[in-house]
Amino acid sequence: MSTEVITAPPTASAPRPAPKPRRKPIRPARVVLHGFLTITALIWLVPTLWALYTSLRPISDTQAHGYFSIAHSLGFSNYINAWNQADMAPYFMNSVYITVPAVLLTLLFSASIAFFVSRFNFKINIALLMLFTAGNLLPPQVIITPLYRLYLLLPLPDWLSNGSGLMYNSLFGVVAIHVAFQSGFCTFVLSNYMKTIPVEISEAALVDGASVWRQFWQIIVPLCRPAFAALATLLTIWIYNDFFWGLVLISSGSERPITSAIASLSGEYFSNQNLIAAGALITAIPTLVVYFLLQRHFVRGLTLGANKG
């Protein structure tokens, strides 16, 4: 059963038939259910809230009263100190320089392949899709050893490599591996989505003499906007959250994106639990903002691929 989300491109999901209206007496089973879910949700919140609580307490407060105590003062001093002591701004810029091009290129690449796979029924379609999908599922550590050597060999002009002259240590190199890796999942999702766009639309365009590129860019891509929104949200969080590529493919700390840099920063600059918690939570802020603003898209993006039956 294809999912509602993939099958109907322009409209949103077909909602499941509304439950029959009925009076709602308070049933004990419901109370137990809500009780269980509330407790689970609270337990799920505890780690984040505890880190947040720790991060908001000045070190003097925890030194005087211990960590497991009622705070006598709360404030953002740890956040300001963590930000300044570790000079976090450049790392955030590195993350932006990696995430933005990687998301855009991944979407362009996967849309191109998906367009080809779904609109032109060439024999290699399935082989191509299988190649991309399987590649996407490999653990990154399977390929890292040769990839690392490859990056040390490939020269790159200085303007692309921040002066290292190599793929290794360049933001470009990290963008490239993100694009190569992530395009598998996105190709799969987009090709399913494009398959649901009636063939007649492209045929009409063809009769009108539109070139292949025009069909792609002006007809198919705009129709896939909901899928792009979902995938872009998902990819932004995924790529920003990446720890591994930034850690291994970039040697010097100052060129690393924030998520990869936070481990060494905390060892170097953050002398206590409160600062560490604040530094970690600063790193999580962008993803939390994206999540709260675009939660619907994020969840849809996650389930788009999985839900294809």
């Binding site: 059963m1 099958t7 439950p19 809500h34 879910l37 949700a41 919140l45 505890v46 780690p47 505890w50 720790t54 211990g66 960590y67 497991f68 191109s112 032109f120 029924n121 060439f122 190649l131 999908t133 399987a134 599922l137 490999l138 990154p140 550590q141 399977v142 390929i143 890292i144 050893t145 040769p146 990839l147 050597r149 490859l150 591996i177 694009v179 190569a180 890796f181 190709t187 398959k195 649901t196 063939v199 063809l206 070139s211 292949v212 590129w213 959250n241 720890f243 850690l247 990869s260 639990q273 560490i276 970690a280 790193t283 993803t287 999540y291 939660q295 969840v299 996650l302 999985a306 039956g309």
Partner: protein, 321 residues
Amino acid sequence: MAIATPSKTPTAPGGIKKASRRVRRLSTRDKIVLSLMVGIPTLVHICLVWIPTLVSVVLSFTKWDGIGGFDSIQWIGLGNYKEMFTVSPTFWPALEHNFIWLAFFVLLPTPFGIFLAYLLDKNIRGTKFYQSVIFLPVVISAAVTGFIWETIYNPDNGLVNSLIGANKPNSFYIDWLGNAHLNLWAVLIAASWKQAAYIMILYLAGLKSADPALTEASQLDGANAWQTFFRVTFPALKPINIIVLVVTIIESLRAFDLVWVIGGSNTTKPGLELLSILITNNIIGESSLIGYGSALAVVLLVISIVPILIYVYQNFRKEQQ
């Protein structure tokens, strides 16, 4: 299965004919554009993902410290594998930990995520709220998750020891992340925090796509909730079950960030060895044993091929018919 299979993918036999006619009508310029659109992404993917995979296999039969040029690469046959299986003190623990990770994921967070999805699917008030809260850990990077859980597990002032009083003078002292018998389990709980939430969202989407008529029919026939789920809903969701299984296996093999952050540095902490950690240690650690690192990667590859094939088979079976 019957409800799960009908695919709305247009694969009418007429379609192929139409398509081939259309292909012939393409201009040369269109053909060039199309080959570029397919060629560039495919080339990037193959060069950066599949070629390194193959090179990994080749390098696993060699010895190379990476300092000398290519001519310093020595062909040593199965030497790396022999060392890995017989001499290395870290390989077997790592493999064992990867499998413990997998078993733990399969037994606890994954079923719990499915259970949560099942509960949240019952038209209850505030379901979106519960979902948003429980799903939060998935959005937080594994690296940050590591730091968050360090504030929980810290032996002196972490939440757990404070709650159970294990950090008071003259009390027993539990070093959750330092003790080699405990740290894997402590990390697994932190990882489950994310995994259960992830599975919950995946499964919830699957349940939403299930046919409500089936559940109603079985309830009319007098089945209780337990029977309805295990005899009707669960079997009907075979595709999503397979995806959840694949995701669970792959996530257990990919486990890295959390352990790396909690492990603290490039040196592997006893009790927390994983294949992914050993491989990475061979690159950015002190010793750069490229052949040996590749042999470890091949082991990881061989294990991960199983779920990948299951997934590819599941997804493309219909199209191949």
